[in-house]
Symmetry: C2
Subunit: 305 residues, 2 copies
């Protein structure tokens, strides 16, 4: 278990040499979820040691170019490398058309299955689930339909008491069944061991990561993101540019911090900085006056959630 967030790009609309636009990778045990995919993402992935083959699912928050212009490039590279395993994309409907027309123009039939999962404006629902985690989407407040995502680990199965495993020399299959909640029957002595008596709850606390890519200040998002371990919230401007932020449906560092405080999150990660902020110290300081547990995203950063 455990989640790690890789900051691939944390700039806003205009990419720079030192800071490309939005792109993040969430590492689970065996694979990566890619979250937004700006121009230049595939080169940065390589630099951060993220093997493309390990990217299984891609979540795109909205269709402003600084959040997806690197996607078709990446899908093409998967194809060139002869990928066979499926790629799942979670995004607004029109992205499928955008991908399809570019594949058609290049006369390319992808050599791997590309599975598109449409997310809808104003949707709040679970869009992905497996044995260990699930992903929710919820609406943000931006100039075009934009969705946030929450990545939630599930509760870890109970541990079986070690002594009991040793005493009965349990097979791995039996262990799996007990972990799944079954009782154990000693058929020789005809004794039933209740599951609660031979297991202990795991001490591991499942983690939650919320991603709010582009959004104006919106208290409406607070109920969705309450108590997450890490909240990424955009902070395009400092407070002295609050009006520019409002006009462009973006947030200031102080507003991001205010949302983090209201949602009682453990840590706040800010990013999506305007290119005017070469140095981000001012943004981070502004946020910390309201929410001390603030981290300023920087390219190449890896955050244990």
């Amino acid at each position: 278990m455990g989640l790690k967030l890789f900051v691939i790009g944390c700039g806003s609309a205009t990419p720079m040499e030192s800071r490309i636009s939005s792109a993040f990778a969430l590492k689970r045990e065996t694979d990566f979820f890619l979250i937004d995919c700006s121009e230049g993402t595939q080169i940065r992935l390589k630099n951060m040691g993220i093997r493309m083959q390990k990217i299984s699912r891609i979540f795109i928050s909205h269709l402003h170019g600084d959040h997806y212009f690197g996607l078709v490039c990446l899908l093409s590279t998967f194809h060139l490398f002869g990928r066979k395993t499926p790629v799942h994309i979670y995004a607004h409907k029109m992205l499928k058309e955008i991908i399809d027309i570019q594949m058609k123009a290049g006369n390319t039939t992808l050599c791997y299955p590309l599975i598109f999962h449409e997310i809808k404006e104003n949707e709040h629902s679970i869009i992905y689930e497996d044995d260990t985690m699930y992903v929710e989407t919820f609406p943000l407040l931006h100039s075009i339909p934009t969705n946030g995502f929450i990545f939630k680990e599930k509760t870890k199965p109970n541990n079986i008491c070690k002594d009991f495993v040793n005493q009965y020399n349990l097979s791995s299959e039996t262990i799996m069944r007990i972990k799944a909640g079954e009782d154990y029957i000693d058929t020789e002595k005809n004794i039933v061991f209740k599951n609660a008596d031979i297991t202990r709850p795991s001490s591991y606390k499942p983690k939650k990561f919320a991603y709010c890519s582009d959004t104006a200040y919106s208290e409406a998002i607070v109920p969705f993101i309450e108590n997450v371990d890490l909240l990424y919230h955009e902070a395009t401007f400092m407070s002295n540019m609050k009006h520019a932020a409002e006009e462009k449906s973006h947030a200031t560092a102080a507003q991001a911090a205010q949302i983090a405080k209201m949602a009682k999150v453990k840590r706040l990660l800010i990013g999506h900085y305007s290119s005017r902020y070469i140095n981000i110290d001012g943004l981070v300081e502004e946020a910390r006056t309201i929410f001390p547990e603030t981290v300023g995203a920087e390219e190449g950063m890896i955050i244990e959630i």
Copy 2:
């Protein structure tokens, strides 16, 4: 007068940190023509000191992503920077749809005029002309419709004999008219000076640059590119991978050199290297055994044509 070629990217399908895919800029007196525009082009332009405002026309050879995936990103950045001057794009028809759908998805109405000039498969024609130069397109031999381009300076106007300018203290307007071919009449003495008697042909030789982005070995292109000052011809592989080149409709370094030799060009520039060639010495050496005046393109290179 005079043309300079800026090598922005010279790799093939997979971009690398040190070598992005195809993108070149041709500098004229006051503006730049961009030729192909791969992912990452806009950041490289900045690094090479090319001001975006100075890019007036963009030529896209074909719709494989490694030749145009950076274009919509660049057009978006023009918009964000509040550009007012028009951008002209010369490309195959479907690129317009690809641009339009992405602008629509982002709810973006560009703040500058974008003028699309369709080029056609198998077309050989002049697609642009002004006072000092013109641009021809011609068909290449690739797996999808692909066009080459030739950028040709026009003959420079004759120079007026300096003594004559001084003797009659000619105005700049009169000088322009004589340069355009008119005779000069001394109205006081009623003498007609024939244009040929008061001008001398310019010693400047107009330059020609031919661009062959992606093409299999094709002698059919030789008549189009004969005697150019600089030929850019792709050289994706070395000869020991000739079969791979054929299969993918690409050329080897030796084949590029053979075309250069047959076309009697002054210099050959090779590029579009497969990512297997981190060091390009082998490709350049192979070409030079056939055509000694070969230069291997490298990112950041500026070539006086």
